[in-house]
Amino acid sequence: MESLVQNILNALQWGSFYALIALGYTLVYGVLTLINFAHGDVFMVGAYIAFFVSTFLLTTLGLPGWGVLILAIPLTMFFTSLVGVTLERVAYRPLRRKGAHRLYVVITALMAGLILEHANLAILGASRKAFPSLIEEQVYNIGGVVFTNLKLGVIFTAAAVFVLLNFIVTKTKIGMAMRAISYDKFAVPLMGIPIDQIIVFTFILGSSMAGLAGLLFAMSYPVLEPYMGALIGWKAFIAAVVGGIGDIRGAFIGGFLLGAVEIMVVAVFPSTYRDLIAFSVLLIILAVRPTGLFGVARHTKI
């Protein structure tokens, strides 16, 4: 019983990362029907930005740990969204203006991810970076279930982000515009909606959440390396797809589902089976329900 509760807590934490990253995929896909394959690497860049920001604040300015954390959250989100927006401006927008085939944009995204990864490797070297500890980790033990304040913080943040984003997308005007673009890309500009601004806003939302995830991830697992974004990015993407890409609820449920599957697999099998089973689950879900759990099938018309 205790180990079950413990595993559920671990799954919630692990799933929170997937959910936060999956959001970026799902938001961009929902608006542009573009798989932003560079998003996993934007998450990696976010973790590095968090590293530099917090080391700078800690050592140069000599702030205390909690102060650094309070400043690092908005700064990391800001700089990471700058990266995302730059990607959109430099790589995706020119292609969209030309009306290029979607496939070309997807390839550009894949390549942009590779560039981020290897530019990082070339500039910072292959050595891993150790993330400084910002807050004192407190371990609670209630009835044999062990958890830390950090773990609770991660889960709480993910929940808060979900509520916030759900509110933005369903209740605000800009959210309505986002949904409208995904519904009909050609009619939306005619209604006087500035399509480019909405798209930039979408990228800001997605990338800043990736930055937040990067910061939290670096705090939880304080070792940074350039390839960390690739695998987590792919898996978060899987989470988004399993939930039904383009739907925020789907991204969260998919993220937590994948987190739960992985933690349960590790609890029962050797840990090397984790990827194997996670990807097999994806394959089965997609084969049975090709549009994911929440996705709506779009029927092809003749």
Partner: protein, 338 residues
């Protein structure tokens, strides 16, 4: 005479290649670059069948390559070499010349069966979702290999060099370049015949309009299955040759990065252009070798080049056209079919 021009040219090229390799006029390095060129040609043409002609977005080609590489390596080592795990050689090493092509083909067949992993979901799933299935298939293959300890797991598997040596001992010839050349030509030939056949016309038909194709009596499910299996099978052949050239395989060589490399070659050459794929595979191999001194920056330069390509010439070098469309005079030497 016109009918046999290409065959004669290829036979002469093979003879020259074998002679140069035998007398060691071209160095080991140049030879290995040439062999990797051949492998890249197989990879890019076979992926072009799915990504170009059928219009799907498969990005897990390296997974099938891994299946071919591992199956054929294990088989070859089991039959012809002394190994810690598999014990002494089962067959006489002098037989290796005759059995080697069979081993490569069995690797290809195994990869084709692995291709079913993608082919069967593709009946219902299309587009982005299918792309994900291919990525998942790639990861699944890698994790399976990593979890089987008898074939070395993540450490890799070796011993194929002794099979190659056994071939060389029986008849003293540079066997690997010869086999790579033959299989490269064979696979390009198979894809060309398939695409230009009446049966194979179903593949571009699916690309144009799947529903219309079905109405025109194309069995789309069967067509998809054939295309995916042929494509992954040829990738397996390429993987088998790759394993025997290096003499060592590990799961790390068949990750998404390798698949991306193949994707780059396909889109560089142009979707739906076989000669484009061949050309771009050759150019890309040379480019990678030329950029080798840059080390890690190479992987910044190559994606950047592709991004530029997507911005300014998204259809690739050749677009949808073939070589004779650019050089009509080639038709004098060979009767190209449409």
């Amino acid at each position: 005479m016109k009918r046999y021009n290409v065959q004669i040219i290829l036979a002469v090229a093979l003879a020259i290649l074998a002679y140069l390799a035998q007398e060691e006029i071209i160095g080991k390095y140049a030879l290995s670059v040439l062999m990797f060129m051949g492998i890249n040609v197989i990879l890019s043409t076979s992926l072009n069948l799915v990504n170009g002609y059928m219009g799907e977005f498969s990005c897990g080609h390296a997974g099938f390559m891994a299946v071919g590489a591992y199956v054929s390596s294990v088989l070859g080592v089991m039959l012809f070499a002394k190994d810690k795990v598999f014990g002494p050689a089962l067959l006489d090493p002098s037989l290796s010349i005759w059995v080697f092509p069979l081993i490569v083909i069995i690797g290809g067949i195994a990869a084709a069966l692995a291709g079913l992993l993608v082919a069967i979901p593709s009946f219902k799933t299309r587009g982005d979702y299918l792309a994900i299935i291919t990525i998942a298939a790639n990861y699944i293959v890698i994790s399976v290999v990593e979890n089987i300890d008898t074939i070395g797991g993540a450490r890799g598997f070796m011993g194929m060099k002794s099979v190659v040596k056994a071939m060389g001992k029986t008849i003293d010839m540079p066997w690997m370049p010869i086999w790579v050349f033959i299989f490269t030509i064979l696979s390009v030939w198979i894809i060309r015949r398939f695409i230009s056949s009446t049966f194979g016309k179903g593949v571009p038909a699916i690309n144009q309009d799947e529903i219309a194709a079905e109405i025109m009596s194309v069995n789309t499910n069967k067509m998809k299955m054939v295309a995916f299996m042929l494509s992954s099978g040829l990738a397996g052949v390429a993987g088998a040759l790759f394993a025997y050239i290096l003499g060592y395989v590990n799961p790390g060589s068949f990750t998404i990065l390798k698949s991306t490399e193949v994707l780059v070659m396909v889109y560089l050459g142009g979707m739906g252009s076989l000669s484009g794929s061949v050309l771009s595979a050759i150019l890309f191999t040379l480019l990678l070798e030329a950029l080798r001194p840059l080390q890690i920056i190479k992987w910044v330069v190559v994606p950047f080049l592709l991004i530029l390509l997507m911005q300014f010439r998204p259809e690739g070098i050749m677009g949808n056209r073939e070589l004779p469309d650019f050089f009509p005079r080639l038709k004098r030497f060979y009767a190209f079919k449409d």
